[in-house]
Amino acid sequence: MSDNQPIILGKDIGLTSCPTCHKVTCAKSTHCSRCDAPLTVRDYSSVQKSWALLITATILLIPANIYPISTLTNQGRVTQDTIFSGIAHLVKTDMIPIAIILFVASILVPILKIVGLTIYLSAISFKLPISKKKLMTGFHIIEWIGRWSMLDLFVISLTVAVVNMGQLLDAKPAPAATAFALVILLTQLAAKVIDTRLLWDRLEAKDDSSTNA
Protein backbone atom coordinates (compact mmCIF):
# COMPACT_ATOMS: atom_id res chain seq x y z
CA MET A 1 0.00 0.00 0.00
CA SER A 2 1.56 3.23 -1.07
CA ASP A 3 -0.87 5.63 0.57
CA ASN A 4 -1.01 5.82 4.33
CA GLN A 5 -4.76 5.51 4.71
CA PRO A 6 -5.87 4.04 8.01
CA ILE A 7 -7.11 0.47 7.60
CA ILE A 8 -10.81 0.29 8.36
CA LEU A 9 -12.35 -3.14 8.51
CA GLY A 10 -15.96 -4.10 8.01
CA LYS A 11 -16.20 -5.51 11.53
CA ASP A 12 -15.05 -2.18 13.01
CA ILE A 13 -17.99 -0.29 11.54
CA GLY A 14 -20.55 -3.05 12.15
CA LEU A 15 -20.82 -4.32 8.60
CA THR A 16 -20.17 -7.75 7.15
CA SER A 17 -20.24 -9.18 3.66
CA CYS A 18 -22.35 -12.23 2.90
CA PRO A 19 -20.15 -15.29 2.19
CA THR A 20 -22.53 -16.43 -0.56
CA CYS A 21 -23.60 -13.33 -2.49
CA HIS A 22 -21.12 -10.73 -1.15
CA LYS A 23 -23.84 -8.26 -0.28
CA VAL A 24 -22.76 -5.87 2.46
CA THR A 25 -25.14 -6.05 5.42
CA CYS A 26 -25.37 -4.98 9.02
CA ALA A 27 -23.34 -7.39 11.16
CA LYS A 28 -26.20 -7.66 13.71
CA SER A 29 -28.43 -9.67 11.40
CA THR A 30 -28.06 -13.45 11.40
CA HIS A 31 -29.04 -14.07 7.79
CA CYS A 32 -28.35 -12.23 4.56
CA SER A 33 -31.27 -10.08 3.49
CA ARG A 34 -30.74 -10.93 -0.18
CA CYS A 35 -29.93 -14.65 -0.29
CA ASP A 36 -30.89 -15.89 3.21
CA ALA A 37 -27.46 -17.48 3.79
CA PRO A 38 -26.28 -17.46 7.43
CA LEU A 39 -23.88 -14.61 8.19
CA THR A 40 -20.74 -14.73 10.30
CA VAL A 41 -18.40 -11.81 10.91
CA ARG A 42 -15.52 -14.29 11.25
CA ASP A 43 -15.77 -18.07 10.92
CA TYR A 44 -13.27 -19.25 13.57
CA SER A 45 -14.12 -22.96 13.19
CA SER A 46 -13.05 -22.84 9.53
CA VAL A 47 -9.38 -23.13 10.54
CA GLN A 48 -10.06 -26.38 12.38
CA LYS A 49 -12.11 -27.80 9.52
CA SER A 50 -9.41 -26.87 7.07
CA TRP A 51 -6.68 -28.48 9.21
CA ALA A 52 -8.69 -31.69 9.48
CA LEU A 53 -9.22 -31.90 5.72
CA LEU A 54 -5.60 -31.04 5.02
CA ILE A 55 -4.18 -33.65 7.40
CA THR A 56 -6.42 -36.35 5.90
CA ALA A 57 -5.28 -35.33 2.42
CA THR A 58 -1.63 -35.48 3.47
CA ILE A 59 -2.07 -39.02 4.80
CA LEU A 60 -3.84 -40.10 1.60
CA LEU A 61 -1.07 -38.63 -0.53
CA ILE A 62 1.18 -41.50 0.61
CA PRO A 63 -0.95 -44.40 -0.76
CA ALA A 64 -1.71 -42.29 -3.83
CA ASN A 65 1.98 -42.24 -4.70
CA ILE A 66 3.10 -45.65 -3.40
CA TYR A 67 0.38 -47.87 -4.87
CA PRO A 68 -0.05 -48.35 -8.63
CA ILE A 69 -2.58 -46.05 -10.28
CA SER A 70 -3.08 -48.17 -13.41
CA THR A 71 -2.56 -51.77 -14.56
CA LEU A 72 -1.66 -52.51 -18.16
CA THR A 73 -1.81 -55.96 -19.78
CA ASN A 74 0.17 -55.99 -23.02
CA GLN A 75 0.14 -59.36 -24.82
CA GLY A 76 -0.18 -61.33 -21.60
CA ARG A 77 2.44 -59.32 -19.72
CA VAL A 78 1.04 -57.37 -16.78
CA THR A 79 2.73 -54.14 -15.69
CA GLN A 80 1.60 -51.84 -12.92
CA ASP A 81 2.37 -48.15 -12.99
CA THR A 82 2.47 -45.71 -10.10
CA ILE A 83 2.01 -42.02 -10.84
CA PHE A 84 5.77 -41.56 -10.86
CA SER A 85 6.70 -44.62 -12.94
CA GLY A 86 4.10 -43.64 -15.54
CA ILE A 87 5.80 -40.27 -15.96
CA ALA A 88 9.27 -41.89 -15.97
CA HIS A 89 8.07 -44.15 -18.78
CA LEU A 90 6.95 -41.11 -20.80
CA VAL A 91 10.38 -39.53 -20.35
CA LYS A 92 12.04 -42.75 -21.59
CA THR A 93 9.88 -42.82 -24.71
CA ASP A 94 10.82 -39.21 -25.47
CA MET A 95 7.46 -37.60 -24.82
CA ILE A 96 8.89 -34.86 -22.65
CA PRO A 97 6.10 -32.24 -23.07
CA ILE A 98 3.40 -34.72 -22.01
CA ALA A 99 5.65 -35.91 -19.18
CA ILE A 100 6.03 -32.32 -17.95
CA ILE A 101 2.26 -31.69 -18.08
CA LEU A 102 1.56 -34.87 -16.12
CA PHE A 103 4.40 -34.21 -13.66
CA VAL A 104 3.08 -30.74 -12.88
CA ALA A 105 -0.56 -31.85 -12.64
CA SER A 106 -0.14 -35.07 -10.65
CA ILE A 107 2.97 -34.62 -8.52
CA LEU A 108 3.95 -30.96 -8.25
CA VAL A 109 0.48 -29.44 -7.82
CA PRO A 110 -0.76 -31.78 -5.03
CA ILE A 111 2.49 -31.40 -3.07
CA LEU A 112 2.65 -27.62 -3.53
CA LYS A 113 -0.99 -27.38 -2.56
CA ILE A 114 -0.50 -29.33 0.68
CA VAL A 115 2.73 -27.51 1.59
CA GLY A 116 1.20 -24.14 0.71
CA LEU A 117 -1.97 -24.73 2.72
CA THR A 118 0.10 -26.00 5.66
CA ILE A 119 2.12 -22.79 5.69
CA TYR A 120 -1.04 -20.74 5.29
CA LEU A 121 -2.88 -22.47 8.14
CA SER A 122 0.21 -22.41 10.37
CA ALA A 123 0.48 -18.68 9.83
CA ILE A 124 -3.08 -18.32 11.14
CA SER A 125 -2.92 -20.89 13.94
CA PHE A 126 0.58 -20.16 15.27
CA LYS A 127 0.74 -16.49 14.25
CA LEU A 128 3.87 -16.91 12.19
CA PRO A 129 5.32 -13.62 10.96
CA ILE A 130 5.13 -14.32 7.23
CA SER A 131 4.18 -11.60 4.76
CA LYS A 132 0.41 -11.68 4.35
CA LYS A 133 0.60 -10.46 0.78
CA LYS A 134 2.83 -13.37 -0.25
CA LEU A 135 0.57 -15.83 1.56
CA MET A 136 -2.50 -14.44 -0.16
CA THR A 137 -0.86 -14.56 -3.59
CA GLY A 138 0.08 -18.17 -2.90
CA PHE A 139 -3.47 -18.88 -1.82
CA HIS A 140 -4.95 -17.44 -5.01
CA ILE A 141 -2.53 -19.57 -7.07
CA ILE A 142 -3.44 -22.70 -5.08
CA GLU A 143 -7.14 -22.03 -5.57
CA TRP A 144 -6.71 -21.67 -9.31
CA ILE A 145 -4.23 -24.44 -10.08
CA GLY A 146 -5.59 -27.11 -7.72
CA ARG A 147 -8.24 -28.43 -10.08
CA TRP A 148 -5.65 -29.35 -12.73
CA SER A 149 -4.73 -32.47 -10.73
CA MET A 150 -7.91 -34.01 -12.13
CA LEU A 151 -6.08 -34.38 -15.45
CA ASP A 152 -4.55 -37.74 -14.53
CA LEU A 153 -7.93 -39.20 -13.56
CA PHE A 154 -9.51 -38.03 -16.83
CA VAL A 155 -6.68 -39.62 -18.81
CA ILE A 156 -7.11 -42.89 -16.89
CA SER A 157 -10.87 -42.96 -17.50
CA LEU A 158 -10.41 -42.44 -21.25
CA THR A 159 -7.61 -45.02 -21.42
CA VAL A 160 -9.57 -47.64 -19.48
CA ALA A 161 -12.60 -47.18 -21.72
CA VAL A 162 -10.73 -47.45 -24.97
CA VAL A 163 -8.11 -50.12 -24.14
CA ASN A 164 -10.08 -53.29 -23.39
CA MET A 165 -9.00 -56.22 -25.55
CA GLY A 166 -8.56 -58.95 -22.97
CA GLN A 167 -5.10 -60.55 -22.79
CA LEU A 168 -3.93 -58.67 -25.86
CA LEU A 169 -4.09 -55.12 -24.58
CA ASP A 170 -6.01 -54.10 -21.51
CA ALA A 171 -5.87 -51.15 -19.11
CA LYS A 172 -7.48 -51.02 -15.68
CA PRO A 173 -7.37 -48.50 -12.86
CA ALA A 174 -5.54 -49.49 -9.65
CA PRO A 175 -6.04 -48.59 -5.95
CA ALA A 176 -4.05 -45.33 -5.98
CA ALA A 177 -6.71 -43.80 -8.27
CA THR A 178 -9.26 -43.58 -5.44
CA ALA A 179 -6.66 -42.24 -2.99
CA PHE A 180 -5.58 -39.64 -5.53
CA ALA A 181 -9.17 -38.58 -6.20
CA LEU A 182 -9.65 -38.12 -2.45
CA VAL A 183 -6.46 -36.05 -2.16
CA ILE A 184 -7.78 -33.67 -4.81
CA LEU A 185 -11.24 -33.50 -3.27
CA LEU A 186 -9.99 -32.90 0.28
CA THR A 187 -7.38 -30.29 -0.62
CA GLN A 188 -9.90 -28.39 -2.74
CA LEU A 189 -12.34 -28.42 0.18
CA ALA A 190 -9.61 -27.38 2.64
CA ALA A 191 -8.89 -24.31 0.53
CA LYS A 192 -12.59 -23.56 0.07
CA VAL A 193 -13.77 -23.73 3.70
CA ILE A 194 -11.14 -21.42 5.14
CA ASP A 195 -12.17 -17.90 6.11
CA THR A 196 -9.28 -15.84 4.72
CA ARG A 197 -10.27 -12.79 6.76
CA LEU A 198 -8.77 -14.53 9.81
CA LEU A 199 -5.28 -14.31 8.33
CA TRP A 200 -5.59 -10.56 7.90
CA ASP A 201 -6.89 -10.10 11.45
CA ARG A 202 -4.36 -12.14 13.33
CA LEU A 203 -1.19 -10.76 11.86
CA GLU A 204 -2.34 -7.18 12.08
CA ALA A 205 0.34 -6.17 14.61
CA LYS A 206 3.42 -7.50 12.80
CA ASP A 207 4.14 -8.06 9.13
CA ASP A 208 3.66 -5.58 6.35
CA SER A 209 4.67 -2.70 8.63
CA SER A 210 8.19 -3.43 7.42
CA THR A 211 7.17 -2.88 3.80
CA ASN A 212 5.31 0.31 4.63
CA ALA A 213 8.06 1.92 6.71
Binding site: M1, I7, I8, L9, G10, I13, G14, L15, T16, S17, P19, T20, C21, H22, K23, V24, T25, C26, K28, R34, C35, D36, N74, L90, T93, M95, I98, I101, K133, M136, T137, H140, R147, W148, M150, L151, L153, F154, V155, I156, S157, L158, T159, V160, A161, V162, V163, N164, M165, L168, L169, K172, P173, T178, A181, L185, T196, R197, L199, W200
Partner: protein, 209 residues
Protein backbone atom coordinates in the same frame (compact mmCIF):
# COMPACT_ATOMS: atom_id res chain seq x y z
CA UNK B 1 -27.38 -0.24 15.44
CA UNK B 2 -30.48 0.52 13.47
CA UNK B 3 -28.42 1.18 10.38
CA UNK B 4 -30.76 -0.59 8.00
CA UNK B 5 -29.95 1.21 4.78
CA UNK B 6 -26.30 0.33 4.15
CA UNK B 7 -24.36 2.82 2.06
CA UNK B 8 -24.32 1.23 -1.39
CA UNK B 9 -21.10 2.96 -2.44
CA UNK B 10 -19.16 0.91 0.10
CA UNK B 11 -18.05 -2.67 -0.35
CA UNK B 12 -16.04 -5.07 1.77
CA UNK B 13 -13.21 -7.23 0.49
CA UNK B 14 -14.39 -10.82 0.84
CA UNK B 15 -10.87 -12.06 1.58
CA UNK B 16 -9.67 -9.56 4.16
CA UNK B 17 -12.73 -7.49 5.19
CA UNK B 18 -11.21 -4.14 4.19
CA UNK B 19 -13.72 -1.33 3.65
CA UNK B 20 -13.53 -0.10 0.09
CA UNK B 21 -15.29 2.83 -1.54
CA UNK B 22 -16.63 1.79 -4.94
CA UNK B 23 -15.74 3.84 -7.99
CA UNK B 24 -17.04 3.73 -11.53
CA UNK B 25 -14.72 1.72 -13.74
CA UNK B 26 -14.11 1.85 -17.48
CA UNK B 27 -14.96 -1.33 -19.42
CA UNK B 28 -12.53 -4.19 -19.04
CA UNK B 29 -10.98 -2.86 -15.85
CA UNK B 30 -11.18 -4.82 -12.63
CA UNK B 31 -11.00 -3.42 -9.13
CA UNK B 32 -8.51 -5.19 -6.88
CA UNK B 33 -8.28 -5.00 -3.11
CA UNK B 34 -5.31 -2.76 -2.22
CA UNK B 35 -4.46 -4.89 0.79
CA UNK B 36 -4.70 -8.51 -0.37
CA UNK B 37 -5.06 -8.24 -4.18
CA UNK B 38 -8.28 -10.23 -4.36
CA UNK B 39 -10.33 -9.16 -7.36
CA UNK B 40 -13.42 -7.32 -6.13
CA UNK B 41 -15.66 -6.23 -8.98
CA UNK B 42 -15.46 -5.16 -12.58
CA UNK B 43 -17.73 -3.09 -14.77
CA UNK B 44 -21.23 -3.99 -13.64
CA UNK B 45 -22.33 -4.77 -17.14
CA UNK B 46 -23.05 -7.99 -18.96
CA UNK B 47 -25.00 -8.30 -22.13
CA UNK B 48 -27.95 -10.57 -21.37
CA UNK B 49 -28.64 -11.20 -25.06
CA UNK B 50 -25.01 -11.98 -25.82
CA UNK B 51 -25.02 -14.44 -22.95
CA UNK B 52 -28.24 -16.02 -24.20
CA UNK B 53 -26.65 -16.60 -27.63
CA UNK B 54 -23.51 -18.14 -26.15
CA UNK B 55 -25.53 -20.25 -23.73
CA UNK B 56 -27.78 -21.66 -26.46
CA UNK B 57 -24.77 -22.46 -28.67
CA UNK B 58 -23.08 -24.26 -25.78
CA UNK B 59 -26.25 -26.25 -25.08
CA UNK B 60 -26.45 -27.08 -28.80
CA UNK B 61 -22.96 -28.66 -28.62
CA UNK B 62 -23.62 -30.40 -25.30
CA UNK B 63 -25.55 -33.42 -26.64
CA UNK B 64 -23.20 -34.38 -29.53
CA UNK B 65 -20.17 -33.76 -27.29
CA UNK B 66 -21.44 -36.46 -24.97
CA UNK B 67 -23.04 -38.84 -27.49
CA UNK B 68 -20.29 -39.07 -30.12
CA UNK B 69 -16.96 -40.81 -29.45
CA UNK B 70 -14.12 -38.57 -28.35
CA UNK B 71 -11.33 -41.10 -28.79
CA UNK B 72 -10.87 -43.99 -31.22
CA UNK B 73 -8.22 -46.65 -30.94
CA UNK B 74 -7.22 -49.21 -33.57
CA UNK B 75 -5.10 -52.15 -32.51
CA UNK B 76 -4.38 -55.17 -34.72
CA UNK B 77 -7.50 -54.58 -36.76
CA UNK B 78 -9.96 -54.16 -33.91
CA UNK B 79 -11.38 -50.71 -33.20
CA UNK B 80 -12.50 -49.33 -29.85
CA UNK B 81 -14.23 -46.00 -29.34
CA UNK B 82 -15.29 -44.19 -26.22
CA UNK B 83 -17.43 -41.25 -25.24
CA UNK B 84 -16.83 -39.16 -22.15
CA UNK B 85 -19.67 -40.86 -20.28
CA UNK B 86 -18.45 -44.36 -21.22
CA UNK B 87 -15.03 -43.43 -19.89
CA UNK B 88 -16.48 -42.46 -16.53
CA UNK B 89 -18.73 -45.54 -16.39
CA UNK B 90 -15.93 -47.97 -17.29
CA UNK B 91 -13.89 -46.76 -14.31
CA UNK B 92 -17.03 -46.94 -12.18
CA UNK B 93 -17.67 -50.57 -13.19
CA UNK B 94 -14.09 -51.56 -12.39
CA UNK B 95 -14.96 -50.78 -8.77
CA UNK B 96 -13.43 -47.29 -8.67
CA UNK B 97 -16.77 -45.62 -8.18
CA UNK B 98 -15.34 -42.51 -6.55
CA UNK B 99 -13.14 -41.83 -9.57
CA UNK B 100 -16.05 -42.57 -11.91
CA UNK B 101 -18.36 -40.17 -10.11
CA UNK B 102 -15.65 -37.48 -10.01
CA UNK B 103 -15.10 -37.76 -13.77
CA UNK B 104 -18.82 -37.87 -14.57
CA UNK B 105 -19.56 -34.88 -12.32
CA UNK B 106 -16.80 -32.60 -13.53
CA UNK B 107 -17.11 -33.37 -17.24
CA UNK B 108 -20.82 -34.03 -17.83
CA UNK B 109 -23.19 -33.31 -14.94
CA UNK B 110 -21.76 -30.03 -13.64
CA UNK B 111 -21.32 -28.43 -17.10
CA UNK B 112 -24.84 -29.53 -18.07
CA UNK B 113 -26.41 -28.17 -14.90
CA UNK B 114 -24.35 -24.98 -15.18
CA UNK B 115 -25.58 -24.29 -18.72
CA UNK B 116 -29.21 -25.07 -17.85
CA UNK B 117 -28.97 -22.93 -14.73
CA UNK B 118 -27.54 -19.96 -16.65
CA UNK B 119 -30.21 -20.33 -19.37
CA UNK B 120 -32.88 -20.31 -16.68
CA UNK B 121 -31.33 -17.28 -14.97
CA UNK B 122 -31.20 -15.36 -18.25
CA UNK B 123 -34.82 -16.17 -19.06
CA UNK B 124 -35.97 -15.15 -15.60
CA UNK B 125 -34.01 -11.89 -15.77
CA UNK B 126 -35.43 -11.16 -19.22
CA UNK B 127 -39.07 -12.10 -18.70
CA UNK B 128 -39.89 -13.19 -15.18
CA UNK B 129 -38.54 -10.67 -12.66
CA UNK B 130 -42.02 -9.51 -11.74
CA UNK B 131 -43.05 -12.90 -10.36
CA UNK B 132 -41.95 -13.51 -6.74
CA UNK B 133 -41.77 -17.30 -7.13
CA UNK B 134 -39.46 -17.00 -10.14
CA UNK B 135 -37.32 -14.60 -8.13
CA UNK B 136 -36.95 -17.31 -5.48
CA UNK B 137 -35.90 -19.75 -8.20
CA UNK B 138 -33.33 -17.21 -9.42
CA UNK B 139 -32.03 -16.81 -5.88
CA UNK B 140 -31.46 -20.53 -5.46
CA UNK B 141 -29.83 -20.79 -8.90
CA UNK B 142 -27.41 -17.99 -8.00
CA UNK B 143 -26.57 -19.64 -4.69
CA UNK B 144 -25.47 -22.87 -6.40
CA UNK B 145 -23.66 -21.03 -9.19
CA UNK B 146 -20.30 -20.92 -7.36
CA UNK B 147 -20.23 -24.66 -6.69
CA UNK B 148 -21.26 -25.53 -10.26
CA UNK B 149 -18.56 -23.26 -11.70
CA UNK B 150 -15.92 -24.89 -9.53
CA UNK B 151 -17.02 -28.39 -10.48
CA UNK B 152 -17.00 -27.67 -14.21
CA UNK B 153 -13.64 -28.83 -15.56
CA UNK B 154 -14.13 -28.86 -19.33
CA UNK B 155 -10.76 -27.21 -20.00
CA UNK B 156 -8.91 -29.96 -18.15
CA UNK B 157 -10.82 -32.64 -20.03
CA UNK B 158 -9.87 -31.13 -23.40
CA UNK B 159 -6.19 -31.34 -22.41
CA UNK B 160 -6.73 -34.92 -21.24
CA UNK B 161 -7.78 -35.97 -24.79
CA UNK B 162 -4.35 -34.94 -26.00
CA UNK B 163 -2.47 -36.56 -23.12
CA UNK B 164 -4.42 -39.83 -23.51
CA UNK B 165 -3.84 -39.84 -27.28
CA UNK B 166 -0.10 -39.33 -26.88
CA UNK B 167 0.06 -41.97 -24.16
CA UNK B 168 -1.66 -44.58 -26.32
CA UNK B 169 0.13 -43.72 -29.56
CA UNK B 170 2.87 -45.97 -28.14
CA UNK B 171 0.83 -49.16 -28.69
CA UNK B 172 -1.85 -48.40 -31.23
CA UNK B 173 -3.29 -46.03 -33.80
CA UNK B 174 -5.29 -43.30 -32.10
CA UNK B 175 -7.66 -40.84 -33.73
CA UNK B 176 -10.13 -38.27 -32.50
CA UNK B 177 -13.84 -38.51 -33.20
CA UNK B 178 -16.61 -36.05 -34.03
CA UNK B 179 -17.27 -35.88 -30.28
CA UNK B 180 -13.83 -34.38 -29.68
CA UNK B 181 -14.70 -31.47 -31.98
CA UNK B 182 -18.07 -30.94 -30.27
CA UNK B 183 -16.53 -31.22 -26.82
CA UNK B 184 -13.86 -28.66 -27.66
CA UNK B 185 -16.53 -26.32 -29.05
CA UNK B 186 -18.58 -26.85 -25.89
CA UNK B 187 -15.51 -25.86 -23.89
CA UNK B 188 -14.85 -22.74 -26.00
CA UNK B 189 -18.50 -21.59 -25.82
CA UNK B 190 -18.60 -22.16 -22.06
CA UNK B 191 -15.32 -20.28 -21.67
CA UNK B 192 -16.69 -17.22 -23.47
CA UNK B 193 -20.01 -17.50 -21.63
CA UNK B 194 -18.25 -17.52 -18.27
CA UNK B 195 -16.14 -14.51 -19.27
CA UNK B 196 -19.35 -12.64 -20.01
CA UNK B 197 -21.19 -13.90 -16.95
CA UNK B 198 -20.94 -11.75 -13.85
CA UNK B 199 -22.30 -13.18 -10.62
CA UNK B 200 -22.32 -9.83 -8.78
CA UNK B 201 -24.35 -8.35 -11.60
CA UNK B 202 -26.84 -11.22 -11.57
CA UNK B 203 -27.30 -10.76 -7.82
CA UNK B 204 -28.03 -7.08 -8.36
CA UNK B 205 -31.15 -8.01 -10.38
CA UNK B 206 -32.62 -9.32 -7.12
CA UNK B 207 -32.10 -5.94 -5.44
CA UNK B 208 -33.99 -3.93 -8.01
CA UNK B 209 -37.77 -3.56 -7.88
Amino acid sequence: MGKEAVDSSITLCRSCDLVIRKRALPTGVRAICPRCHTSLYDTPYCSINGMLALCLTAIFFFAPANLFPVLELEFLGSVRTTTVIEGALSVYHQGYWLVGIAVLTSAVIAPGLLLLSILMQILIVKYGLSSPSLKTVLKHALKTQGVLTQLTMLEIFVISFLVAAFNLADFATVSFGFGTFCFTMLFVMTLFLMREYDLEHMWSYLDER
